[in-house]
């Protein structure tokens, strides 16, 4: 299987993720979109690592995972606190700040 396929896949994942962020109104779903984007980047990294024949890509992916995890923690904390206040995790409901 050509490595390009992986890149295409990661491109698709990245697009899906960003579309989810941009169009979905639920904070959690949007957040998952972001995670999908990060993982798409990870896939790209690992693929390129393979392409270049070194382990850097994988190592970077490790770091990215860590960062993503930290982001999850912070994100969950924020979303949960909002959710508790409003009983909803919709971004549209959070519109006290005029745009």
């Amino acid at each position: 299987m050509s490595l390009v396929n992986y890149l295409v896949l990661s491109g698709i994942l990245f697009s899906i993720g960003s579309i989810a962020v941009l169009t979905r109104r639920n904070a959690i779903v949007a957040f998952m979109g972001v995670e999908l984007m990060l993982n798409a980047a990870n896939l790209t990294l690992v693929t390129f690592g393979r392409l270049h024949g070194d382990l850097h890509g994988q190592v970077i992916a490790f770091f990215v995972m860590v960062v993503a995890a930290a982001e999850v923690v912070i994100g969950l904390a924020i979303i949960v606190s909002i959710f508790r206040t409003r009983g909803s995790a919709s971004i549209d409901d959070a519109n006290l700040l005029k745009s």
Binding site: F31, L45, V64, V67, A77, S81, T85, I91, A94
Partner: protein, 524 residues
């Protein structure tokens, strides 16, 4: 397989970052072990001393670097060179005053929710407030953010940059949601900041991945050397560079990546807004400078168009939208967008003086920003019973403030005219330097637009001055509606430092400019 070679680590060179992050860690331990009574005092002292010590360390490293030349640290992940150190110093100065504002307790309470996780408006929250609980986690959080920011200008590879980006962002996401009053607004700001911030860092990461794929490395210099090699993957290279730049532009709040700025600035606790507005911008621009100046020269032709458009949009949109704002914080937010556009001129210029001028601009802007937001924290509303409540942020509430509180109003005016770039303030010299660099870099059409935008921008700064000095106060003498609270003194100190700094930068900027003139070259 290569034998693992442990990298040489020059601990001394890392000392500023280590000090700040070390204090942050100690701050967390303080939260865990120090009794509540003395916790806040301990945290404040730790943080202030930490930032001060880091500043001293940066100064020391500056001397060393001036003598011995720049070096690569931690196996090349960081660079210790003049621009990095200068950016760090500027950052620390702004962080220092920002920290003072954060630590201040005007009218007896700080700006942060005592129980951030409590449901706004709940009985528990009210109880926590009554019990006089204080939010002291803000100090470690701030220190972590500062730590990330310190790494930012020095980062010489994309991975380090990415991690620093997150280290500085994550605490800020939280800090944005901690406002004592207007909890819902604050939480919402936090959520928006987080979602959009995470979104942009995903873009940054994809850019990183693409650049890694193109060059086989995430080092700036490796990417730069790979640039001339035409391998049929130019599209990937360009996409990667653009995505990375998008991630950084988001942090500086450039149009079209600015949508978070007004909301977050408005919703976040005002001291945090000041800190964030100043320091994030400094760090992000310093990183953008390094990335752009190291990687972009080979790509100049492709990138220029994009960056020009972004710079123009940023200046125009920031200015135009600021004009129609009626909330002080939103107005300053849009003004900060416009300022991002001005600073971009220095980045785009791609000439040595661009580096120093951008740094100078950021210092001037940072001081004025922290000072302005510091003053915002002092102007409060007063309810029917005469109790002091939240900040008076509507423009109309500032009417006639100059009559009652001339010193405050004059300081605020000073910051505003510095923003507007009127001479004898730091803002003017900054604008002068940046525009100069842009003209030197051949971007004179941008300068023309920037000049026009500055003129238009003056309108909304001046409008505030009009309100403060020329308008009759809305309330009566007995019940002014808007009041100015006494501080613990820390904000006063911060504002005075900012004001004096702004004037010094405007009247005798020579020494600082001389210093900055040393920082005109990035170590590859």
């Amino acid at each position: 397989m290569n034998q693992f070679v442990p990298p040489e680590i020059d601990w001394a060179a890392l000392s500023p970052v280590l000090i700040v992050l070390g204090i942050a860690v100690i701050g967390v331990l303080v939260e865990a072990f120090v009794p509540v009574r003395v916790r806040r005092a301990t945290q404040v002292v730790l943080a202030v001393v930490g930032v001060g010590a880091a500043l001293v360390a940066v100064a020391w490293r500056w001397v060393v670097v001036q003598a011995d030349g720049p070096t690569a640290l931690v196996a090349g992940a960081l660079r210790e060179d003049a621009p990095a150190l200068l950016a760090q110093a500027i950052l620390l100065v702004c962080a220092f005053v920002g920290l003072l504002v954060i630590a201040d307790r005007s009218s007896g309470e700080d700006a942060f929710a005592p129980a951030a996780a409590a449901i706004p408006g709940s009985a528990y929250e009210a109880e926590a407030r009554r019990a006089g609980l204080v939010q002291t986690e803000v100090f470690p959080l701030t220190m972590f953010a500062i730590g990330g920011m310190l790494v930012f200008p020095a980062a010489a590879d994309l991975l380090t940059l990415f991690i620093a980006l997150e280290v500085l962002s994550l605490p800020l996401y939280l800090l944005a949601g901690l406002a004592r009053r207007r909890r819902l607004l604050s939480q919402e700001a936090s959520l928006k900041y987080f979602l959009l911030g995470a979104f942009s860092s995903a873009f940054f990461l994809m850019g990183l991945a693409l650049l890694y794929g193109y060059s086989g490395s995430v080092r700036f210099d490796a990417v730069a050397t790979a640039v001339p090699a035409t391998s049929g993957m130019d599209g990937m290279l360009l996409a990667g560079v653009l995505l990375v730049i998008v991630g950084l532009l988001f942090k500086v709040g450039a149009v079209p990546f600015h949508s978070w700025v007004p909301d977050v600035y408005q919703g976040a606790p005002t001291p945090v807004t000041g800190f964030m507005a100043a320091c994030t911008k400094i760090a992000a621009f310093a990183a953008l400078l390094r990335f752009f100046y190291v990687v972009a020269p080979g790509l100049q032709w492709d990138l220029t168009v994009v960056l020009w458009i972004i710079a123009i949009l940023t200046m125009i949109v920031g200015t135009v939208l600021a004009v129609v704002q009626t909330d002080m914080k939103r107005m300053l937010a849009y003004s900060s967008v416009a300022h991002a556009g001005f600073v971009l001129l220095g980045v785009i210029a791609l000439v040595p003086s661009g580096i120093s001028s951008v740094l100078f601009y950021l210092l001037a802007y940072g001081l004025a920003t922290v000072g302005a937001f510091g003053l915002l924290t002092l102007v409060r509303e007063r309810d029917a019973d005469g109790n002091v409540t939240g900040e008076a942020l509507h423009l109309s509430q500032w009417a006639g403030l100059g009559r009652r509180h001339p010193v405050l109003a004059v300081c605020f005016t000073l910051f505003l005219i510095s923003f507007a770039g009127i001479p004898l303030t730091g803002g003017f010299i900054g604008k002068f330097a940046v525009f100069g660099a842009a003209i030197e870099g051949g971007a004179w059409p941008l300068v023309v637009i920037a000049v026009l935008a500055s003129a238009a921008a003056a309108f909304f700064y001046v409008r505030v001055i009009v309100l403060m000095f020329f308008t009759e106060p809305t309330g009566t003498d007995a019940d002014p509606g808007t009041t100015v609270v006494r501080t613990e003194g820390l904000t006063a100190v911060a504002v005075v430092v900012c004001a004096v700094g702004t004037v010094i930068l405007g009247v005798v900027p020579g020494p600082i400019l001389d210093l900055a003139a040393n920082a005109t070259k990035f170590m590859l």
